[in-house]
Subunit: 177 residues, 2 copies
């Protein structure tokens, strides 16, 4: 049974800084027409920076869309044409002031496949060494270091309110470290 | 240091079926102005349906935004004014044809807090029994049953391309079942 929906027409409603909004007319498998609202958004990379002494480096920052300061793994949008691993190392440096000798791919998953094209690509970053440029200093992003052994309680207590961070830290707990 | 961004003006660009788009003018802590693109989206509930014999019930469906059929935990948008647990039981019935005697809250996290208000609330559903209405039959959503013991390999092989599903299944692997 053909499940794919066929696009009949596309209409870009808004072209923005970090996202575009499209509303498409589609034909669904039953033969009827429907419309689909799609948020186009560049991919993002996320890092699980793991220190030699078993701590994870998270960041705390204010997120306007939810009007709240929350804890997340360091992450950022991949620039057009940018290599994913290069983006990962760039964000690691900009957000927590480290570079990594090892990057291991953890997973790639869409943040909200029901309406958004945003792909999140997560890496474990290890073999860390300090690497900060003066212009990376952002007093609005704070680094928070958590022992791997404390992560299960952290998650259970509802301290992680970001999907990719919940996914990444749950994954990390599963690894034999 | 005050990190909150202050809204100066709000502008609703698009009011849609499953989302609205707002572009706000804000004052950032440094004193400068910036604009923030925000996708308003109702919360969603997700289920980890766990059978008595240790299988998880996932669903496979076509997702137009990413032009791909992917595996996810059963999930759906919470209707205006709907109770979260009621929404969870409704989606469990509609998508996989079961009801649950036990719902345990696993976590609540934003799918993409950088630009979206969408909150994902995930429950473990157990004590399952069949409960299907004829109108729930959707030939475009297919149930896929996976043994809990097979989940680590599943994730490692990149079979899960959805953030909330990666989070939920990683969490499940951590539980002593």
């Amino acid at each position: 049974m053909e499940k794919r929906e066929k696009v009949l027409s596309r209409h870009v409603v808004y072209r923005g800084r970090i996202l575009n909004l499209r509303v498409d007319n589609v034909r669904v498998p039953s033969g009827k027409r429907a419309y689909r609202e799609v948020i186009e958004h560049n991919p993002a990379v996320g890092l699980i920076p793991l220190t030699d002494d078993g701590q994870v480096l998270l960041v705390s920052q204010f997120r306007y869309a939810i009007d709240e300061e929350i804890l997340e793994i360091p992450a950022g949008i991949v620039e057009d044409g940018e290599d994913f691993e290069a983006a990962a190392l760039r964000e690691l440096q900009e957000e927590v002031g480290f570079t990594a000798s090892e990057l291991a791919h953890v997973g790639s998953f869409y943040s909200s496949p029901g309406f958004s094209t945003e792909l999140l690509v997560v890496y474990l970053a290890s073999g860390l060494s300090p690497s900060k440029l003066p212009e990376d200093d952002d007093e609005f992003i704070r680094t928070v270091s958590v022992k791997v052994g404390d992560l299960p309680a952290f998650l259970k207590e509802g301290k992680i309110k970001d999907a990719k961070t919940f996914a990444a830290l749950s994954w990390l707990i599963n690894q034999d470290l």
